[in-house]
Symmetry: none
Subunit: 207 residues, 4 copies
Amino acid sequence: MGNTRLTEHYTDSRTKRQQILDAAYEIFSRKGYHQATVDEIIALADTGKGTVYNYFVNKEQLFYTLIKERSSPFETALQQIVDSSEPPLPKIESMIKEYIAFYVVNADLWRVMMHEVRGLGTAGHSNFSEKQRDKYRIWFKSTIGMLEIVLNECIAAGEIRQCDVTKTAYALFSVIVMMVFQKFVSDDIDETAKAVSNVFLYGVTNR
Amino acid sequence: MGNTRLTEHYTDSRTKRQQILDAAYEIFSRKGYHQATVDEIIALADTGKGTVYNYFVNKEQLFYTLIKERSSPFETALQQIVDSSEPPLPKIESMIKEYIAFYVVNADLWRVMMHEVRGLGTAGHSNFSEKQRDKYRIWFKSTIGMLEIVLNECIAAGEIRQCDVTKTAYALFSVIVMMVFQKFVSDDIDETAKAVSNVFLYGVTNR
Amino acid sequence: MGNTRLTEHYTDSRTKRQQILDAAYEIFSRKGYHQATVDEIIALADTGKGTVYNYFVNKEQLFYTLIKERSSPFETALQQIVDSSEPPLPKIESMIKEYIAFYVVNADLWRVMMHEVRGLGTAGHSNFSEKQRDKYRIWFKSTIGMLEIVLNECIAAGEIRQCDVTKTAYALFSVIVMMVFQKFVSDDIDETAKAVSNVFLYGVTNR
Amino acid sequence: MGNTRLTEHYTDSRTKRQQILDAAYEIFSRKGYHQATVDEIIALADTGKGTVYNYFVNKEQLFYTLIKERSSPFETALQQIVDSSEPPLPKIESMIKEYIAFYVVNADLWRVMMHEVRGLGTAGHSNFSEKQRDKYRIWFKSTIGMLEIVLNECIAAGEIRQCDVTKTAYALFSVIVMMVFQKFVSDDIDETAKAVSNVFLYGVTNR
DNA sequence: CATGAATGAGTATTCATTCAT
DNA sequence: GATGAATGAATACTCATTCAT
């Protein structure tokens, strides 16, 4: 409160928002969506309750913002691999590595998200509005879509045999997620990625 | 009213209990555990609220009963396959078939259960008591364990190469569940099972 | 079921009613009126729930019956003392003895009753209907009234000084009840009665 | 809105809390603990339901707070009399006066409390937790204890004869409470106190 | 912008009572 | 008469959201 107020204000403002997001990440990951309470989040964020509602329209949108901000760099990284000039098979391995690295960090939050969106497939009531859930589904399909693109490149290059790329992409995805959830991932992500791609790829290659 | 009184009585009793279980299955599957309300369940079951509490000590135990009654025949079926004299590889395919058939029917309820038990791995708050969650975890591991047993038989028989059977079992499991959740399962379960075992097994065989 | 059915019936019927009353006495005494549940009572009485409602119109009337049946011999005993030809002061002591003997047995149930009737004085909602509560009040006043009668005899006989007999009767009563509630009553009721009447009659001063 | 903001804030805060306490006092006194509903309390307090739970952790603790805040000045007043340099006998009379004044105001609430704590003696189920009930018992015994202290002073001073001071203190207490409950207390508390101490000290005999 | 006091819709659970058998 | 399955009214407590300061 003084001549530095404006600067402080701006700085504090950024900080507050981030504090809330960080706390929300922690609490949502630990407790799930419903069990996480705004009270817990603000306690961890060291802010007032009203502040949360200055930055986020409601709990649902706070969660959504969290997901969006966390997934954005991941999506970019995946896209860069797709766009790169690597050969198809190493591309797959790079993407697996990226996936594992991402889920190792965000496993719990993503589990919560996926549950609320109901396996990204079925209808039915949820803590989220249908409109919101569609956004998650679209985002989710777009990342899986990148896997499909590269799988198609592999097929075109004759590296793997003909198969349903959508199902294959999902299969790959499900195995990765399971590995992370079950804590099967060693500290050396490269090694784990190699193991997954090994089991996976050389099962579907032409020989 | 008459000579069938006793039977009627018993039948009616079963009916009420079963009505509640059926309704609970429906609502829990659609809404998840927390979002499912006892009011909705009794509305669908066409019973009074107190009736639910005559048969089940609380919402948690109602859910547990549901899981237990549904999983029991599945576990038995799996066990029979394990104990059978089929050769190892067909055993795997039979188990996949059984798994798919089970999850096609119980996908939603099981998703709910697995979410509440937190991926059956991590700690953290839940709607379930820790004691209860342990029961689910033990049950879950026992079914996965049956897969592991047969995978070991396959290795012993030289049908598949040396590998971490636990991870492999989980991988197989995750792919099956994903197939069901994503509605990738055709009406012909045998066909789907063959496809899964094909992609999966011939990726890990010695050839 | 046979030729002794009628007799058995009658006998069983008496037994059932008494079993319920005995169980109700136990449970009401231990738990209070509200905390006592019909379920607990029938569990202890080893009867069906409906049976309770064959003999008593509802929980309130079951409690009332209990009180009435228990107090009836006590009232009679008090009345006999009043009507006897004992001199006034010994009459007082006899009544004190009777009171103590009664409350030693029925302390808990009576505490519950008196609480529900709200100190037998004030208005306000209760678990009991106003009509019912009036019955308790009338009964209660009648027993206190017997004390008053004898106190008046004492005054007429010049044994005790002029005083407000109503207040005095209540004071005597309150001390007796307190002694019992506080478990100050020794096994030898006569001794306790003597102590009470001593303090009461002669005060605590050194003369 | 202005320079008194802070104060207003504080004042308002007190007001809501106090409104709830006042309403709770009224409802608990009229209905007893169990029969008193939070809905009734908030209706009388003119607050929202959540507000009650902002200030008090639950119904039990609301009740406890009520008792504590009401008894605190009473305890202090008693203690001051004990510590004063008055001669023993007048001390007794002063304490009686204090007791009467206190119970005239708080009779109903205290009756409710004493009933829930079961005559401050016996065990058994209650609406209160055992831990909480112990607090009440301790508090209760400490006030009775002050009476005992002064009674001992009286004995030491030769003002009253040797007697069991605990029983005597309880006897005195029970008579006071009864006088209040039975509305035997005239507007002139001094007069009532004198009457009580008179009967108590000198008994009812003609000498 | 930051705050937190106030709010009330929403929900699991209890238990006296009924009534068909 | 005896029974107990079925019932639903009643109730404490939670927590996202608002808004005055």
